[in-house]
Amino acid sequence: MKLTALLTNAAMVLGLATGVAAQDKTKVGFIYVGPVGDGGYTYQHDQGRLAVEEHFGDKVETVYQESVPEGADAERAITQMALNGADLIFTTSFGFMDPTVSTAKKFPNVKFEHATGFKRADNLATYSARFYEGRTVMGTIAGMMTKTNKIGYIGAYPIPEVVRGINAAYIAAKKVNPDVEFNIIWAYTWFDPAKEADAAKALLEQGADVLMQHTDSTAPSAAAEKAGNVITFGQASDMAEYKPTPRVSSIIDDWSPYYIERVQQVIDGTWKSTDTWGGIDSGMVAIGEITGLPEEVKKAAEAIRDQIASGELNSFTGPLNRQDGTPWLAEGETADDETLLGMNFYVEGIKAEMPN
């Protein structure tokens, strides 16, 4: 223990010393769970990496490894980047949490950033985006646009992150359209275009005319385009190839500002382990261009977006009850992050049962 501490201190002194006279490039590593060509989640992280390269030019070198399986392989991939001189490593999927934690222990001088997790250390920060704020905007559009009052929602797995999004979208949709109903399909996969397309078709055949998704491929948009008269939203990336319809807007994970900021802090030596949960205000969640919608819907959606950004509106504001009717939030009360992070219940009004 003493020895480790000693080594750490020595290394820190050295690190500071070299930091002052830093001539060499700062090396930034990225560990991706999917291929960079997935057109969604991983693609968007890679856009963040490219933005870092562009912003810093010669001062920074980036490396990445794609399609890293969670578990033992992840730990090796992260370690290998640390060994090869990465100063800062972003691990971009929840499943990389424990491998990142144990690698961070072994490399006290390297900075780590883990996306969507909850374990931190002195050299391990966490970051995530309040995607649900985007869902509030999309839910508003959905509620205003639906004619059948049926909104189809494709979720990946029944986990808090996805449930949160469903609730946020439902609350927003219900506000503008009290008759709205949510049909929910769990795909039990993050990424399977054929299955997502089938799920989209099933929802459309049952009368949904708005599709929302919390899976990663653009297949639902493609299915909607084929069916016609249906609107969809881009998920994770803008999915601009389906503009102006069926994709009428999107929730974009824009990691670029965060990545650039954190890399800058490493260069400056001001990096600290933090827990960032950024929303629309920080730019981490961006609302893609609103296309193909009536002017008043567009205005309403933009107003919601701006209210969330300014802090005027919270996606989860009482009075709200849980699905079983028990009270959750009183009038004017807003949800705390703890409840949101572990959210495992639907809000009142959603008819579907949660699988467990």
Binding site: G37, I184, I185, Y188, A194, D198, A202, E205, A219, E241
Partner: protein, 306 residues
């Protein structure tokens, strides 16, 4: 829960679409296995067909050329399997697995420039009156042409196996390659043709996913369909019409499962997803009493020792 929101006509129409990729790949694999060859590389050939078809359709603007390209791409990949198993006499199980690995990698390399592009639409059959008939119209006459090609292939393979001399020879080769060889049939040549046919069918099945069912290109988009196709051949006990039935059953379970969820039924998805495989095992057990269906030489290496 509102089961009345499930429209049975649309359900059947969409299960036919969902079943077609499996159907195409399985009918090809059926011919391969009838010839006594077990090619576990279906997934690799499908994904290769998916990207070849997609790329060619995008470049030429013609979905038909795309499907043709997919068939050629799938067959080209199966040529590797031919070289390994028919020329170099390597083990078929290992070669097939290697083929899948290779195909997944190759398709991802080929597809790097095609992410986020939309393919040209594949035309649907549109017969005045018939396609608009309530009920039957969308089920029978409202699909794209490839779906009908799939059904036609089933019929053709059935007729070929049952009535033609070629079918007889194919079965003879699959039952006992030594006897077929002794009768003067070119065992290796027949098997090569069967494998190439299987590759072309798998390629078509893959392209059906990337050009019709989804339609777009993403890495790994076949997501295990090739393995289901393999299961299906067994499920069907090597009978073409049962392949069709089985494909609709598999497709039907997927589509019905999603429809039930959409209607608000809380079903244990994982257990339902297991059911096709458990049913297949059950069918295997029932069938194993009647040994006549499985090609006797399946998976065995043939070497003519004169």
């Amino acid at each position: 829960m509102d089961l009345s929101s499930i429209n049975p006509v649309l359900l059947v129409a969409s299960l036919m679409v969902a079943a077609t990729p499996i159907l195409l790949a399985a009918i090809g694999e059926l011919v391969v296995e009838k010839a006594g060859v077990l090619n576990l590389g279906v997934e690799g050939m499908m994904i290769t067909g998916a990207i070849c078809g997609f790329a060619i359709a995008v470049e030429t603007g013609s979905p038909w050329l795309g499907f043709a390209g997919a068939a050629i791409g799938g067959a080209a990949l199966s040529l590797l399997f031919v070289l390994l198993t028919q020329v170099a006499l390597a083990n078929q199980v290992a070669s097939g697995l290697a083929l899948t690995l290779f195909g997944l990698g190759l398709s991802a390399l080929l597809g790097q420039g095609y992410v986020g592009i939309k393919p040209p639409p594949t035309p649907r059959l549109d017969i005045p009156f018939l396609s608009d008939l309530p009920g039957l119209g969308p089920v029978l006459f409202g699909h794209d042409l490839i779906l009908y090609l799939g059904i036609a292939l089933v019929a053709a393979v059935w007729a070929m196996l049952k009535y033609s001399r070629a079918g007889l020879i194919l079965r003879a080769v699959g039952e006992s390659h030594d006897a077929a060889h002794a009768l003067g049939y070119k065992v290796v040549r027949i098997r090569i043709m069967a494998i190439l046919f299987g590759g072309a069918c798998a390629g078509l099945g893959g392209a059906y996913i990337s050009l019709v069912r989804v339609p777009q290109w993403t890495e790994g988009m076949t997501a295990g369909v090739g393995w289901i196709a393999l299961a299906l051949v067994v499920f069907a006990s090597w009978k073409p019409w049962r392949v069709l039935l089985g494909a609709y059953l598999f497709g039907g379970i997927t589509v019905l499962q999603l429809n039930l969820q959409a209607a608000g039924v809380a079903i244990p998805v994982e257990y339902l997803a297991m059911s096709p495989y458990l049913i297949t095992i059950l069918v295997l057990v029932i069938l194993s009493k009647d040994k006549s269906n499985a090609p006797a030489s399946l998976g065995k290496i043939f070497h003519a020792s004169h």
